[in-house]
């Protein structure tokens, strides 16, 4: 535009300077000047059009180039992914080969051992037979000598006696014959045994040689497996890096840096922590495999139990007769219903805590809790219709990684519609409550819309209500404002579903959600660049939160020193994490649901529509006492099947591990419980308490006594600032 004006001004200048000359040929110089202006204007318009089209073309070319670059990145990612799969396949083959070799090796060794044993036995037998042959020979010798002696005696005896003496020789001669037979028998036997022993020796030597060969083969297979594993890990790392690049996400951590501290961090942030054994397992598994297993948790079987929630007035043959009840009966029915309702909500809170403590898919529960805080809905506002909120939370669990689905589900969700009064948002009488909070809290944040956008969004949501008896969503066309609405720069007869699409198209949404997820899972001060990268992952993955978390949990930022141990545990994390660290199952979940309420995180009852503030807001003088006391109560008073109380530390937490000294016990429990280092002075204070412990070798005999002291140690260890963070 500026350029056109400039051209017009020049036109005027030319016209003015030429005016005297032109006046002689054409009588109307003004008209001539106007013509010059018109020509100049046309030229300007043409130039402008040309510039615009060139600009457009350049814009298109840029976009095309960008798409091409992006396609190259995805192609590279696909290539790296394939390479990683091939390498993984090779690793699995090597693993199988190694396992086969190892089995063969074990079998050959067993065979060699068996034959060696047999050869030794045959040797012993042969020696015994040789011994016996020797004995027989000696016996023959003796018999012969005896016979000879008597024969001489008989020869020198008188005639009268000679006959008698010769007669007496006969049995001796018989004995000699017998001894001769026996000798030859034993000699034969000995020779046989010796031959057998020789044979056994030969076979044993053969088996040993075979076993040695098998061992060498197995060693070779192990070397190959190691190489294949290293190759697979490298390919996996490359694939992760390529995927991160294609997504525009965060740079992955070098997998070699993944150590015990980092594995513990991952277990805590992607779930509710775990035992030192689980930390070691993750460490062995490696960074990327661990992240994938935690994030794509549908590959892990779900906990079987589910929670059925019922409407307060559930469909019942009673219903048609209700109108006929007398006042007393009605009150009775009402109070029975209230009691059922109260119990249902209590039971659900307990059930959910139990699920968090025991589910093999901790991230699913952690995300459900995250969404419960993000799309906060308070039970106390729902007129005792707890089943609406329980169903909402089931939706959070089922669609925990699909933000698109969740946001769409939210405008159709009876609990949310009731909570934010959208059931009274009707044509001509809009109620802005839901529209405002969707934009302010659920998707974009203040500063990305105007008050007018809220009014228009509220109109789009008119007629979105629910059926009070079934709790199902209902769209009442008669209450819907079908007129055109202008939201941002878009105009149309938008519905609530269109509103969700507009929100998802708006780049502010991915940024808002990325920032919130980062703060929730990493630390509270992400740079704009990090947020931008994570937002890119959300956009590239069509708001798949699992893809974002996969990128995030493998990233350098996630394991940076400012992230490790930087978060204050929420009450739920504190309690559930304690159960997981101590190896306690079937905890007193109803009592624990009350405990987390006192600490400021009542399930189904976030403080307001903004959800729990988190971070330092969990801690103040009042809440710190509730936190310390609740964990101490859990350790000291956990009800046990045999009627005693308190965590069975010896069996449940230490699980039969053997210790030599009390310092080792302290060290193990510190490692189980703390994610940040403990000062030397504090560790000594713990060891001081541990001195009262019986020697570990005595524990099985003096178990109750050992447990009492171990519980005191655990209470001290958990009642300290270090236990409040992870």
């Amino acid at each position: 535009m500026r350029r056109a004006i400039w051209i017009v001004a020049v036109g005027w200048g030319v016209g003015g300077a030429a005016a005297p000359g032109l006046a002689q040929q054409k009588p109307d110089p003004v008209e001539a000047a106007r013509a010059v202006v018109r020509a100049a204007q046309e030229a300007a318009r043409a130039a402008e059009a040309e510039a615009a089209s060139a600009g457009q073309k350049a814009e298109q070319a840029r976009a095309k180039a960008q798409r091409a670059v992006q396609e190259v990145r995805w192609a590279e990612a696909a290539l790296a992914h394939t390479a990683a799969r091939v390498a993984e396949k090779a690793r699995q083959d090597a693993q199988r080969a190694f396992e086969e070799r190892e089995a063969a090796c074990r079998k050959a060794a067993e065979q060699a051992a068996r034959l060696k044993e047999a050869a030794e036995q045959a040797g012993r037998d042969a020696r015994a037979a040789a011994d016996e042959a020797l004995q027989a020979e000696r016996r023959l010798q003796a018999a012969r000598e005896q016979l000879e002696l008597r024969r001489r005696e008989a020869a020198s005896a008188s005639v009268a006696e000679r006959a008698k003496a010769e007669k007496a020789l006969e049995p001796l001669a018989g004995a000699v014959r017998k001894a001769e037979e026996e000798k030859s028998l034993h000699e034969r036997r000995s020779a046989e045994k010796a031959a057998a022993a020789e044979e056994a020796r030969r076979r044993a030597a053969g088996a040993q040689a075979a076993a040695d060969r098998a061992l060498a083969e197995s060693r070779e297979a192990f070397r190959k497996l190691e190489a294949a594993t290293a190759a697979a890990r490298a390919a996996e790392e490359e694939a992760a890096a390529a995927r991160a690049a294609a997504l525009g996400g965060l740079k992955p951590l070098s997998a070699a840096c993944f150590d015990e501290a980092k594995a513990r961090h991952l277990l805590w942030r992607a779930g509710f922590g775990g035992t030192p054994e689980e930390v070691l397992r993750l460490c062995r598994q490696g960074l990327h495999a661990s992240v994938r297993q935690l994030v794509y948790y549908t590959t892990v079987p779900a906990a079987a139990a589910s929670f059925e929630a019922w409407p307060r007035e559930s469909p019942h043959p009673w219903l048609p007769y209700e109108a006929k009840l007398i006042e007393d009966e009605r009150l009775h029915l009402e109070s029975a219903r209230q009691e059922v309702e109260r119990r249902q909500v209590r039971a659900f809170r307990a059930w959910w805590l139990g699920r968090m403590a025991e589910s093999p898919r901790p991230l699913q529960e952690k995300l459900a809790l995250f969404w419960h805080g993000h799309f906060a809905t308070q039970y106390s506002i729902l007129d005792q219709q707890g089943f609406l909120l329980i169903r909402q939370i089931q939706m959070f669990r089922q669609q925990a990684t699909d933000y698109r689905g969740l946001l769409r589900g939210l405008v159709h969700d009876a609990a949310m519609i009731r909570y934010l009064n959208n059931d009274t948002n009707t044509r001509g009488k809009p109620n802005e409550n839901l529209a405002r909070e969707i934009l302010e809290l659920f998707s974009m944040g203040v500063g990305n819309y105007t008050e007018e956008d809220i009014r228009q969004a509220a109109r789009a949501l008119t007629g979105y209500t629910y059926d009070r008896s079934t709790g199902e969503f209902r769209f009442v066309r008669a209450h819907h404002d079908e007129g055109p609405k202008k939201i941002w720069s878009h105009t149309g007869p938008f519905t609530g579903d269109d509103l969700v699409d507009l929100i998802l198209q708006n780049p502010a949404t991915a940024r808002f959600l990325a920032r919130k997820l980062f703060i929730s899972f990493v630390h509270d001060d992400p740079s704009d660049e990090v947020v931008e990268r994570l937002a890119s992952v959300l956009r590239e993955s069509r708001y798949n939160v699992a893809v974002l978390l996969e990128n995030l949990f493998a990233s350098e930022e996630f394991y940076s020193p400012r992230a490790l141990g930087s978060q204050i545990k929420s009450p739920v994390e504190l309690v559930v994490g304690t159960l997981r660290a101590l190896g306690v199952r079937d905890g007193p979940y109803e009592a624990l649901a009350d405990a987390v309420r006192r600490m400021g995180q009542e399930l189904l009852e976030p403080p307001n529509v903004k959800g729990w503030e988190g971070g330092r807001s969990w801690i103040d003088a009042n809440r710190i006492f509730h936190r310390y006391n609740a964990v101490a109560d859990l350790i000291e008073s956990l009800p046990r099947p045999n009627g005693t109380k308190g965590v069975d530390v010896v069996s449940e937490t230490l699980g039969g591990r053997s210790f030599n000294r009390v310092e080792e016990v302290v060290e193990y429990l510190v490692r189980s419980c703390l994610g940040v280092p403990l000062s030397e002075g504090k560790r000594r204070a713990l060891e001081e308490i541990a001195r009262a412990l019986p020697a570990p070798s005595e524990w099985s005999r003096r178990k109750e006594e050992a447990n009492a002291h171990l519980r005191a140690l655990l209470v001290a260890l958990t009642s300290c600032p270090e236990y409040q963070v992870n």
Partner: protein, 412 residues
């Protein structure tokens, strides 16, 4: 009858400390005030009780502009007929359930300030709440609250954790947060203690060592350690003072009555606390407002009435000023749900012998509205704060609020 002996601060320091260890865990206020002795507490010290009506109170349903013709026109389901209103002047009157407050008004102990707000009103509960509590249009970004800053100015170097107390579940509100004074909150004094050591000496010793600060480690750990140290120090005093207290009047059921009774007990127990903060919720009346608001007014009136009576019966009332506020008012025009949506300006009340009783400013017009269809404010809330700071707490309002807020002349 022997009157119960007052446990003084000196008793507390000489014998009453209980297990609070001396050394690293002992906050310096204990050490310092041990030297200062009784001088640390003067009965003449004035106390401010701030009551938040949370959710955004509908102004016209509390201070009713019964003479405004447009009020009757624009309000159908929330309308209060003139004959039910308790008139304060020819223009406005109190909600019919505010009988005790009307009595206090007649005794010149109540000041009502109409149309309190601020420029470019924010309609988000959270952001507007932060603006009111920070007394700063940046809201939470300001980092501190106005009462916290007042403590920073007035009690520089005094780190007694009980200087400002919030009663209620949850953390101390932004209003109490100062740079040096974080504020302290608790819900019930008797539950305000650590009991994991089961009073076993060795375990208590370990607890103290594990919860002593050496000023090292990451910031979040240091923050927790500071909180624990302050909590341990305050726990014994609070429990002891509150347990000893027997109110002279009966308070209504519910958390507001309970909290005000606790405050009366702590005031009578000579705690050095200068600022109490509490909130009374349920004012976010988007639907079926009338019945809900009526209940809230009845509860408010009963609890405040009992509180004033209790203090008066002990000659403590002269030390106490109560101030109410809400994060915003509500829309002049009703919505389709027999309720009202978020709005802007609303009334504040100041209560106690320190006020100049009366009504200040005219009720905002129902016809001359701002571009969003909400009331235009008559006075900035910081001008009311300025009056409380200057006239009641004796703190320079300029240091707390900045320039440009001349105090409303509603305090003696």
């Amino acid at each position: 009858m022997i009157p119960p002996r007052l446990v003084t601060r000196r008793d507390f320091l000489s014998g009453g400390l209980g297990w609070v260890g001396v050394g690293a865990a002992l906050p310096s206020f204990l050490v310092r005030s041990a030297a200062a002795g009784e001088a640390a507490v003067r009965r003449a010290d004035r106390i401010l009780v701030v009551l938040l009506l949370s959710g955004g109170q509908d102004g016209p349903s509390c201070v009713v502009p019964y003479a405004h013709e447009a009020y009757a026109r624009k309000r159908k389901t929330t309308f209060i007929p003139p004959e039910q209103v308790l008139p304060l002047n020819p223009e406005v009157g109190l909600h019919p359930n505010l009988k005790s407050l009307k009595e206090l008004y007649d005794r010149k102990l109540l000041a009502v300030i109409n149309g309190v707000g601020y420029p470019n009103p924010n309609y988000s509960h959270f952001e507007s709440m932060d603006i009111w509590q920070a007394a700063d249009l940046r809201g939470k970004a300001a980092g501190t609250g106005w009462l916290g800053r007042a403590c920073d100015v007035a009690f520089k170097g005094n780190d007694d954790p009980t200087l400002s107390l919030a009663i209620g579940e949850g953390v101390a509100p932004l209003a109490l947060r100062g740079r040096e004074h974080p504020g302290l909150s608790f819900s019930r004094p008797d539950a305000f203690r650590y009991r994991g050591h089961r009073d076993v000496a060795a375990r208590r010793a370990a607890y103290e060592k594990l919860n002593a600060g050496d000023g090292s480690g990451p910031e979040s750990l240091q923050f927790i350690t500071r909180t624990v140290v302050a909590a341990n120090a305050a726990s014994e005093t609070l429990r002891e003072r509150a347990a000893r207290y027997k109110p002279r009047v009966s308070y209504p059921e519910g958390s507001l009555g309970r909290s005000l009774a606790t405050i009366a007990g702590l005031i009578a127990g000579e705690l050095p606390t200068r600022i109490y903060f509490l909130s009374y919720g349920g004012f976010d009346t988007h639907a079926d407002q009338r019945a809900q608001h009526d209940r809230l007014m009845a509860g408010l009136d009963a609890a405040l009435g009992a509180f004033v009576k209790d203090l008066e019966s002990q000659n403590l009332a002269s030390r106490v000023l109560v101030m109410t506020f809400s994060e915003f008012g509500r829309r002049p025009e009703e919505n389709g749900s027999r309720g009202t949506d978020h709005g802007s300006a609303g009334p504040m009340m100041l209560l106690g012998p320190g006020v100049r009783g009366g009504v200040y400013f005219k009720h905002p017009s129902f016809e001359d509205l701002n571009p969003h269809g909400n009331f235009k404010h008559a006075v900035d809330f910081r001008c009311v704060y300025a009056a409380v700071l200057e006239k009641w707490l004796g703190v320079s309002s300029r240091l707390v609020l900045g320039d440009g807020f001349s105090p409303v002349d509603c305090l003696a």
